[in-house]
């Protein structure tokens, strides 16, 4: 190919200079990206590759379905818990188990605290260095930085000139030590960085503050789940029994002291997000609002399953506090319902993935999914099978499958949720989005961009922190009304189960729509399939040649310096890629997997 038009409306041209970024850093897992740039340094072709594969689903075959949450939780330690939640929902859906109201509230609190934590850590520790230059912060005037801080977030207590001077001194000594640690070999002279030194210093200071604060957020999950990372879950409810004022309440998982702890942390989360995270996104965004690259699929094809059931056991869209629906072909005012049990809706394709189907012109619904690893490079690839120089995207080129909704490549994640919710007229989302657009003085179209994705994530963190409080209040009210149940164990014993059942569980992970499909036979897992957010966003091409969200978002971006991929990192990071999630997929049949032909 030189020029190729994709069915989903993009033009690809691979005639220009090829750039390779491997590894893409500051993501979860392993990823490679190749692009072609034209003579004006504009990206005209993009190739995104998942570079790891673990095969968790085949490992699950034959296991106890009640254990599945622990296995799939290890799909990802960054969005820890969201896979576990999705798994217990899939098992409960298959076995028709209802959970108590308190369990629903506690699960929601855990899921919402993950949203807050994950979004915050993503912004400051994985994404900020794409916008913020720590070396430039050394030139800042601490007094002016203090004034900036007080202007953008008057309620944040850490704002004195002395405070910023101390941070700057520490940073200076760090830089002068010559051992730059994580900042080493960054692109600090690249003109793509636009912040004045004071904004850089403020942001670097918050990088450190957020690193300190994030460890507090997840303590909510330590109380309900016993540890974080990878807290504990339970089919039928939650494992943490409640005993507020009875005998031996002090030794119970949930008592007045632990509830008080959660109340305190929840309040601090709201304050940190509202006094630090949101103002920083607006302040930084203000300096980059002319950099509106990276829209990709966000104005065309978006997908959300919905999450956060208000009442327990009702997963219908009306009861879900996070938006549900699909937008296709750029028709933003038409929201389609999504049915995860319909075999014609979600399907996975593999003609460009390192797997093999009998008929690769067709996609497979996850309940009937097949995965046979098949690592091989295309004939136009450069290098060798164990020393890849350039991939051939006309052939197989990624460990990620290509999931499609009714044949469409879809973007998932905070931006997808926020655009769908906005179009549905959800009042909470509309108020947030309109407020942000007003603060930045940009039109709605600005949301369809890299920055829009980053801003939607911040708004969602704010939303989640406040909803965490909502469910905490709800939990306390329910306990006050006399209901302390946390688990339904009527069907915990596998001998009570039908011999063959299937189910699906879904959630909105921090990175987007997530679903697990399970088949249970004679008390054991017969088939387990996960289709995860970064599989949607990071998917390679499909049988029709549609490109996925990562690839679409990179097109037509101008890079300042071809050898320094800061713009590419910026846009890829705006999706918060999670590659361990996207590349764990495995087949249902327990095929022989050790034999893999490499040609």
């Amino acid at each position: 190919m030189t020029t190729l038009a994709t069915p989903n409306g993009f033009t690809l041209d691979n005639s220009g200079k090829r750039l390779v970024i491997d590894p893409v850093t500051r993501i979860e897992g392993h990823m490679r990206c190749e692009v072609n740039i034209d003579s004006s340094n504009v990206i005209r072709n993009a190739v995104s590759t998942g570079t790891m594969w673990r095969g968790l689903e085949v490992i699950l075959k034959g296991r106890d379905p009640r254990d599945a949450w622990a296995f799939v939780q290890r799909i990802c330690g960054v969005c820890t818990g969201t896979h576990a939640l999705t798994s217990v929902r899939a098992v409960e859906n298959a076995l028709k188990i209802d959970i108590p109201e308190n369990a629903n509230s506690i699960r929601n609190i855990m899921q919402l605290s993950l949203q807050v934590h994950d979004h915050l850590v993503h912004f400051y520790h994985l994404h900020a260095l794409d916008w913020v230059n720590p070396v430039n912060a050394l030139k800042a005037d601490p007094k002016a930085t203090s004034e900036l801080q007080q202007r953008v977030a008057p309620n944040h207590p850490n704002s004195s000139p002395g405070y910023f001077r101390d941070v700057q001194t520490r940073l200076r000594k760090f830089v002068e030590s010559g051992q730059l640690g994580p900042f080493k070999n960054g692109y600090w002279t690249n003109p793509a960085y636009k912040l004045p030194p004071e904004a850089d210093l403020m942001a670097v200071t918050h990088y450190l503050e957020a690193l300190d604060f994030q460890k507090e957020i997840m303590r909510v999950r330590t109380i309900f789940g016993g540890k974080d990372i990878h807290p504990n879950w339970l089919v039928g409810g939650v494992p943490c029994a409640i005993n507020i004022d009875g005998d031996m309440a002090a030794g119970a998982p949930i008592n007045m002291a632990s509830l008080d702890y959660v109340i305190s942390i929840t309040q601090r989360c709201i304050e940190f997000v509202e006094n630090v995270y949101i103002p920083d996104v607006i302040a930084i965004g203000g300096f980059y609002k002319s950099w509106l690259y990276g829209g990709g699929l966000s104005s065309k094809s978006l997908l959300a399953y919905g999450d956060i059931p208000d009442k327990a056991n009702d997963y219908s869209p009306a009861n879900l506090l996070m938006p549900h629906g699909a937008i296709i072909n750029g028709k933003l005012d038409e929201i389609h319902p999504v049915d995860l049990t319909d075999p014609s809706q979600v399907q996975e394709f593999v003609p460009h993935s390192w797997y093999k189907y009998e008929d690769e012109s067709k996609g497979l619904h996850p309940w009937d999914g097949v995965t046979e690893p098949h690592y091989e490079l295309g004939k136009n690839a450069k290098g060798t099978s164990t020393r890849i120089e350039e991939l051939d995207e006309a052939a197989k080129y990624s460990w990620i499958k290509a999931p499609r909704w009714r044949g469409h490549a879809m973007e998932v994640g905070p931006l997808a949720r926020y655009i769908i919710g906005y179009q549905q007229g959800r009042q909470d989302i509309k108020e947030q989005v309109d407020g942000l657009l007003k603060a930045l003085d940009v039109p709605m179209e600005a949301m369809f961009s890299t920055l829009g994705r980053t801003a939607a994530r911040a708004l969602e963190a704010q939303w989640a922190a406040n909803k965490q409080k909502y469910f905490l209040d709800k939990l306390i009210a329910n306990i006050k009304a006399g209901d302390t149940a946390t688990a339904n164990t009527a069907k915990f014993d596998p001998s009570t189960w039908p011999s063959e059942v299937k189910g699906v569980g879904f959630s909105e992970a921090p990175r987007g729509a997530l679903a697990h499909w399970i088949r249970i036979k004679d008390g054991r897992i017969d088939n387990y399939q996960c289709v995860v957010p970064s599989t949607w966003n990071g998917s390679p091409r499909d049988n029709q040649g549609n490109i996925g969200a990562f690839e679409a978002s990179l097109l037509n971006t101008k890079v300042e310096r071809a050898e320094e991929p800061v713009e590419i990192l910026r846009t890829l990071h705006s999706f918060d890629p999670c590659l361990a999630c996207s590349t764990h997929v495995m087949g249902p049949d327990g095929q022989e997997l050790a034999e893999v032909k490499v040609r």
Partner: protein
């Protein structure tokens, strides 16, 4: 540019010269060295740069890194800015692609034999190693090259230590723990297992190495004895209920609300060596049993393949009387005293037996062989 030394760092953190000197004397004493060595330590600390660390990621889920950043004492911020020089960590580093890989080469050249290789995850051997690709090559190659030149290896978490979830049966990628990687250079390896390890355990291992300039004493399996020499059960706050025969029979039953022992709903605390019931998680806040779920044994080798997490332990070697917990439960009220005594005796015998067969491993210093 000047290179910052350990002493510079301590001064920067407000530690006085006098305290620093005292610290060096205490360190010498702790190492069993004559007082004269204090000056030597002081000299080393004043002139040595922060130790470079290459933190590499294989097949994993990043839970170890996520745990690490939750450390309260010391703060992850202080570890990264002041204790080590985290020159390569693809989860946190600013650079990507060529600029990232160049750092590995630079560190190997500049600090040959003097950097720590921290490994999170493990390499797969199937698919020619290409089910984990870094820079277009198998992670296996990156790992082996770094290991050739490092001073010592820290195997973070159960992936690097044992293989963990991707190595559970049938291990489709042949994911292999670090110490079993074919052709890996013979370097001291310290295993810090757990899925993930406790944050403060991770940072304490680093702090110990920097403070005492040697590896902590390891057990036969290569784990620091200071955190892994006791079973969760040994120091569990619910242990008295075990001894008294008071058990949770079902989740959310009366026993669950009173904090009774979780043995009957599958707790693996009696066979799991870790510090969860002592150090606890997230700044000492809680641990799985305290939050009502049985321990799943995530720091033990092959814990994924030992049956359901909700099946109670039976016929476990060295487990003795605990296997009879059913009976104890039935006759709880009257038999408490007897059960406790019998249990204590059995445990004592078991401990003695283990002691006889389980010679403590020699403490490692950096020059030692693993």
């Amino acid at each position: 540019m000047a290179t910052e030394t350990f002493y510079d760092v301590m001064r920067r953190q407000g530690i006085t010269r006098r305290s620093f000197t005292k610290f060096c004397s205490l360190t010498a004493a702790a190492l069993g060295l004559p007082p004269a060595y204090a000056a030597e330590i002081q000299n080393a600390m004043e002139t040595k740069p922060r130790i470079p660390v290459l933190w590499m990621h294989g097949l994993e889920c990043t839970c170890c890194s996520e745990s690490f950043i939750r450390s309260g004492h010391p703060l992850a911020k202080d570890v990264i800015l002041s204790m080590i020089s985290l020159d390569y960590d693809d989860t946190l580093m600013a650079a990507a692609g060529h600029q990232a890989e160049a750092i590995v080469q630079e560190t190997i050249q500049k600090y040959d034999g003097n950097f720590i290789l921290a490994v999170e995850g493990n390499p797969p051997l199937n698919q020619e190693g290409m089910s984990c690709i870094i820079g277009g090559r198998p992670f296996l190659e990156q790992l082996k090259e770094a290991a050739d030149h490092c001073k010592a290896i820290i195997s973070w978490g159960s992936c690097a230590s044992w293989g963990c979830v991707q190595a559970a049966r049938p291990n489709p990628t042949q994911a292999t723990p670090v110490h079993k990687v074919p052709g890996l250079a013979d370097k001291p390896i310290i295993k810090v297992p757990g899925c993930p390890p406790i944050a403060e355990v991770m940072t304490a291992v680093i702090a110990y190495i920097l403070t005492f300039e040697r590896f902590p004493e390891l057990d036969l399996q290569g784990r620091p004895k200071m955190f892994y020499s006791q079973r969760i059960h040994d120091k569990c706050y619910r242990r008295p209920h075990f001894d008294a025969g008071q058990f949770v029979e079902h989740f959310d039953d009366e026993g669950a609300r009173k904090g009774y022992c979780l043995y009957k709903v599958g707790c693996k605390g009696p066979t799991t060596y870790n510090a969860c019931s002592t150090v606890r998680w997230n700044g000492g806040l809680s641990f799985p049993i305290q939050a009502g779920h049985p321990c799943i044994g995530c720091s033990e080798d092959g814990f994924w393949d030992k049956g359901s997490f909700y099946n109670r332990l039976v016929d476990v070697n060295g487990f003795g009387i605990e296997a009879n917990a059913d009976k104890i439960g039935v006759t709880a009220a009257g038999a408490v005293g007897i059960a406790t005594a019998a249990h204590a005796a059995a445990s004592a015998v078991r401990r003695a037996r283990q002691k006889a067969g389980d010679e403590p491993a020699k403490a490692h210093d950096f020059e030692g062989q693993n």
